[in-house]
Subunit: 218 residues, 2 copies
DNA sequence: TATGATTTTTAGATATATCTAAAAATATTT
DNA sequence: AAATATTTTTAGATATATCTAAAAATCATA
């Protein structure tokens, strides 16, 4: 049984480990969780004593097999709750994150089983991310970031990597949403900014930073 | 902002204060929460410093006006979640309590507003207890315990006071559920036990202890 | 009403999760 | 490779929520 805090560390470390190949560093974890490196070291020791992480002093951590399983269950809960909030309670996608961060720690196998059933076994959450099943299995949509595709590419927005409120509000404002059809009209070479067309209608300019966070399926 | 532990103490103390007229004693709280008197004293001090309780050493506590308001909001959340679990997720009424104990501490005004809306503004939870509104207002069904009515009385079961799993399972087993129609067939004077008929069909015997926990609306 | 029983509080510990400041190890640069 | 910079860990504090054991206050009753 993991505590609230342990689950949060595990989930964050798991996400970080997906993004890089080697070990996850203490500082990266601290930054992700808005905490201090010393606190991270303490928690890392705890989780590695529980067999959730493998850890070598000064060398960062890897998530163990049992850790991955546990992390995927927390992610499963998070994404099922986000789906519930958007599909059933009519939340906007920029309103779900904080609430799901709390709900993901509710401990009841029956609750999650019934919630999954109630939602008709969704495979992707409102941000387009896959929902792992009870065994931690999931399939991803093949995705690519907007900054990695060339002009004239057409695709559907399937995922948004930055889920901060500020970013999601910005996307709402310029008319970008999950499932929208986008076409790259022009790619400005020197700064990587893009002119894109949404749903064959509206045309907007986005910076390279923004384009890195919008992923499409071609 | 109250912590998880503070909310649990407040809710318990509020419920105890409803049952008696005077101050709520340290020991009663400790027993209710399965904790020690020393721990209760510590928490009582904290809550009275926050203006949630009024407290005189060795004299027990009273819940302040702001405490009542806060307690009713926790109770509102608990009962809305129980309603959700039974109505939407098909939980049995003996399965909801532990999960609702966790869910009641989720902090999001929007979530509760939308959940209330989603459930079509229920006025009573699956155990027949009233659900306070955003202002803490509620109306009770006029209720009486089965041991206080005389033979031949007919009523609808509106509330069950003991919500332990063991008790609810027992009720399920003998065919008693919320909303069932009951008729008192016979009242045994010397031990207070009852013979009752459920839904004009099944006849069962219940002890006085059990009858004290089953409340009907005539 | 005094004395013993019970309840409540205090004092001091423990466990979790955090922090700051200093020390140790590793990485980078000249 | 030595000096410097950065990262990570350790040592020691703090805050919350709990506990046990002993002291203090209140209650019950002979």
């Amino acid at each position: 049984m993991l505590s609230f805090a342990e689950e949060n560390y595990l989930k964050t470390i798991y996400h970080l480990s997906e993004e890089i190949d080697g070990a996850v560093s203490t500082n990266a974890i601290a930054e992700s969780l808005n905490t201090k490196a010393a606190s991270v070291t303490d928690m890392i020791k705890k989780l590695s004593n529980k067999g959730i992480l493998s850890y070598q002093k000064y060398r960062g951590v890897h998530v163990s097999e049992s850790g991955k399983k546990a992390a995927l269950q927390v992610i499963r809960k998070h994404r099922l709750w986000e789906t519930f909030l958007v599909d059933k309670l009519k939340f906007n996608w920029d309103e779900v994150h904080e609430v799901a961060e709390q709900l993901e720690h509710i401990n009841s196998a029956l609750l999650i089983k019934r919630l999954d059933e109630f939602l008709a076994y969704p495979k992707f959450d409102p941000h387009g991310d896959p929902i792992p099943d009870e065994n931690g299995e999931y399939k991803s949509k093949p995705q690519v970031a907007l900054n990695h595709v060339k002009a004239d590419t057409i695709g559907i927005i399937v995922s948004v990597k930055d889920t901060s409120n500020a970013f999601l509000k910005y996307l709402d404002k310029i008319g970008i949403y999950l499932g929208a059809k986008v076409k790259i009209l022009e790619k400005v070479e020197f700064d990587g900014s893009l002119e894109i067309q949404i749903d064959s209608k509206k045309t907007v300019f986005i910076s390279k930073e923004v384009s890195e966070n919008i992923w499409i399926s071609e």
